[in-house]
């Protein structure tokens, strides 16, 4: 099955020079806001180390913490479910909704706040097929839901859209004036529209940012208030989490709540940091714990630390490649640098171009609040792609050829001499033929000197 890979999608993205500039500058602006928030915190690097080490420890004791979490949550009157994969997750969510809502003459109604896990499981489509109306209430998510697109960023779902695009979408779906693009007015329209949905909903679903083993509680971080509004007006709260969202103790939250928003958007903290422990009397609370490939990643020594991710998106904002290719070019729920080290675990063949969609500049690793060595893992995934014979044939044989030549000094010297010789003789039109030589699309080749350094040394120094 042939599907476009990152280079192809990135090339298409770059065709619009101005829009690429706009996308790059918008995300760089978010990176700058992050820097401004980070620099004044003297212990920020210590916090990163703590956050990293707490998660390293947790992953090494994950089963026991999950059991502890389940025990405590259950004692609190929360129902805990386990889903091995996306299909099971979707099934469980659907059953909870159907069992708790006996509605007549209409579909059951669900409001959802942001949950990348549910995107990963393609929950919305499944529920719609089963006669459940789903409304994404995070503004960015609602926008892409209207447009029938996936989000392009895990924190800023609609970052790839200009306000004119949003205006168009809202004109179509919410009846705002044609051409209206004032974010204030558009947001107000969404507020009114979604208020109605919150009040009318049967069930509310949220993600989980942190699940605390010690108390069986979980924490949801939002800026808009949509998670709490939905949950507190609904009869039933379903909270979905990947197994890696566990942290051991309540006071560990102090570390993550100081890192998350600063890394994600440059705010000192999200507007709402909501701690859920027990449902209101008469209402239901459910937690769905999901594997869906995570335990497999846990078993990969070089890549297990990617499970420490707290989904802040800082790596995307800083990545010069992400900024100039957009989230959709990764074709995976979680794009960008973290996506490129999570996705090959799920489907090595489909995502083989992602570890190479990088210059290994290392900026991602330096902004990661939990110190995932992303750029090191990108390098290591490349070796696995190579060994699984997933490299394009031309590239593979070129690399093997180079390796051979470069281990033999005499052959290397001669090849170099021939290459330079050819470059000096051949006409510019040929050496810089853009369809044969991709380097030459935007660059001149270096001038080929008459002598290599070795030849100069031999002549002048020996």
């Amino acid at each position: 099955m042939n599907h476009p890979d990152h280079p192809e999608l990135a090339e298409a993205f770059n065709k619009d020079f101005e829009r690429t500039t706009w996308h790059d500058e918008t995300l760089w602006f978010v990176r700058q806001k992050r820097d401004k928030a980070v620099y004044p915190v003297p212990e920020f690097q210590d916090l990163r180390t703590l956050a990293s080490e707490i998660k390293d420890h947790t992953l090494s004791n994950l089963d026991n913490y999950l059991i502890e979490f389940e025990e405590n949550a259950t004692k609190n009157g929360v129902k805990v479910h386990w889903a091995a994969d996306a299909t099971e997750h979707n099934q469980i969510v659907m059953e909870i909704i159907k069992n708790s809502c006996k509605v007549e003459g209409r579909n059951a109604r669900l409001v959802k706040s942001k949950s990348m896990l549910t995107e990963e499981c393609h929950l919305n489509g499944f529920l719609e097929k089963n006669n459940i109306d789903v409304v994404d209430t995070d503004l960015g998510e609602r926008i892409v839901q209207f447009r029938n697109e996936p989000p392009s960023h895990i924190v800023l779902p609609a970052i790839h859209l200009k306000k004119e695009d949003v205006g168009e979408t809202f004109h179509k779906h919410l009846g705002t004036t044609k051409g209206e693009k004032d974010p204030q007015i558009l947001t107000e329209a969404a507020r009114q529209h979604l208020r109605g949905k919150f009040v009318a909903t049967d069930v509310a679903l949220t993600g989980i940012n942190f699940a605390i083993a010690e108390t069986g509680s979980f924490v949801v971080c939002t800026n808009e208030g949509n998670a709490d509004l939905g949950v507190n007006l609904a009869k039933v709260h379903i909270a979905c989490m990947g197994i890696e969202k566990i942290i051991p103790k309540l006071h560990h939250l102090s570390v993550y709540t100081r890192l998350l928003a600063r890394s994600a958007t440059g705010q000192p903290v999200t507007t709402y940091t909501s701690h859920f422990t027990k449902p209101v009397k008469g209402k239901e609370m459910h937690i769905v714990i999901v594997d869906n490939g995570r335990t497999q990643q846990l078993g990969r020594e070089d890549f297990r630390s990617s499970l420490k991710c707290i989904r802040c998106g800082a790596c995307m904002n800083t990545c010069p490649v992400y900024r100039r290719s957009g989230g959709h070019s990764y074709d995976f729920t979680v794009p960008g640098p973290i996506g490129a080290i999570l996705s090959p675990n799920i489907d090595l063949h489909k995502h083989k171009s992602l570890p190479f969609a990088s210059t290994l500049c290392g900026s991602c690793s330096d902004v990661c609040p939990v110190k995932i060595d992303i750029h090191v893992q990108l390098y290591k995934w490349r070796q696995i792609v190579g060994q699984a014979n997933e490299l394009p044939a031309a590239k593979k044989w070129a690399m093997k050829g180079m390796a051979k030549v470069l281990s033999m000094p005499k052959v290397y010297n001669l090849s170099g001499k021939l290459a330079r010789g050819a470059l000096r003789i051949l006409p510019h039109g040929l050496t810089h033929n853009q369809s044969m030589n991709p380097w030459a699309k935007a660059r001149e080749l270096p001038d080929a000197p008459k002598q290599s350094f070795k030849e100069w040394y031999e002549e002048n120094r020996k």
């Binding site: 190579g386 390796a403 000094p409």
Partner: protein
């Protein structure tokens, strides 16, 4: 101390002047330098391309070439990084371990082994410094903006001491140039765009001479400069410190 010079493959073939400047500079600083003729390459391009297993022969050849020396100096942060970090896949014989410790990027060697803080020279030009990722975030030879807002590092320290020099203040002090090895052709669109954005930043802020520690970056940026006919001269830091003028 026995010091060897390692000239990266693409410098050897396409930018021999950088090699010459490196050699002359080290000699001016009082170092007796040996250049082992049988050297070829550190193996980075293949390894970054996913073929590190195929590169073992190149790694072993490198170690064989350089293991007798106390220091191996090279005008390349990326080669230095690769040898230090990625030669862990071959058997860690004493020779391998020695080479991984004795490989030094040129400026790092000057400041931390020779303990030289200033190279008195005149360079009355507006200079834009490009911080190469391997040297900066890999080897921590300069501050990273992800960690601190203070812009400082080994190369800028030496540059600032040059007579008449004016260092450009860039908008994005340490964004990657977009070369990335094979990335420059496999993800050509993004690579070119990244390089163009770097050049635009330099042009907006008055750079007349663009310099850095890695020829790989400079080769890519110079390619764009030449295609655009931009009024920028590209010089490796070794050339500037050696006293060459643009």
């Amino acid at each position: 101390m026995k010091v060897a010079l390692f000239i990266p493959c693409y410098v050897d073939q396409f930018y021999p002047n950088v090699g010459v400047s490196t050699l002359q500079l080290l000699e001016k600083l009082g170092v007796e330098v040996v250049f082992p003729m049988k050297q070829t390459c550190c193996g980075q391009p293949m390894a970054n391309g996913g073929c590190e297993q195929d590169s073992k022969g190149v790694y072993e050849h490198f170690v064989e070439t350089f293991s007798e020396f106390d220091y191996v100096v090279t005008p390349s942060g990326s080669c230095t990084y690769h040898i230090k970090k990625h030669y862990d896949i071959i058997e860690q014989t004493p020779a391998v371990q020695k080479v991984r410790k004795s490989i030094y990027e040129l400026v790092d060697f000057i400041e931390n082994v020779l303990k030289i803080e200033e190279i008195p020279n005149s360079f009355p030009h507006k200079v834009g410094l490009h911080l190469s990722c391997h040297g900066q975030r890999g080897l921590r030879q300069a501050n990273a903006s992800e960690i601190t807002g203070v812009r400082d590092g080994q190369i800028s320290k030496l540059l600032r001491k040059l007579n008449g020099i004016e260092l450009t203040e860039l908008e994005r002090n340490d964004e990657c140039c977009g070369f990335g090895g094979m990335f420059c052709v496999t993800e050509e669109a993004v690579s070119a765009r990244m390089g163009q954005d770097r050049i635009a930043d330099h042009l907006r802020n008055g750079t007349k001479v663009l310099t850095g520690g890695d020829v790989s970056c400079l080769m890519h940026l110079e390619g764009i400069v030449k295609r655009q006919n931009a009024p920028i001269k590209v010089m490796h830091i070794a050339e500037i410190l050696n006293g060459n003028q643009p």
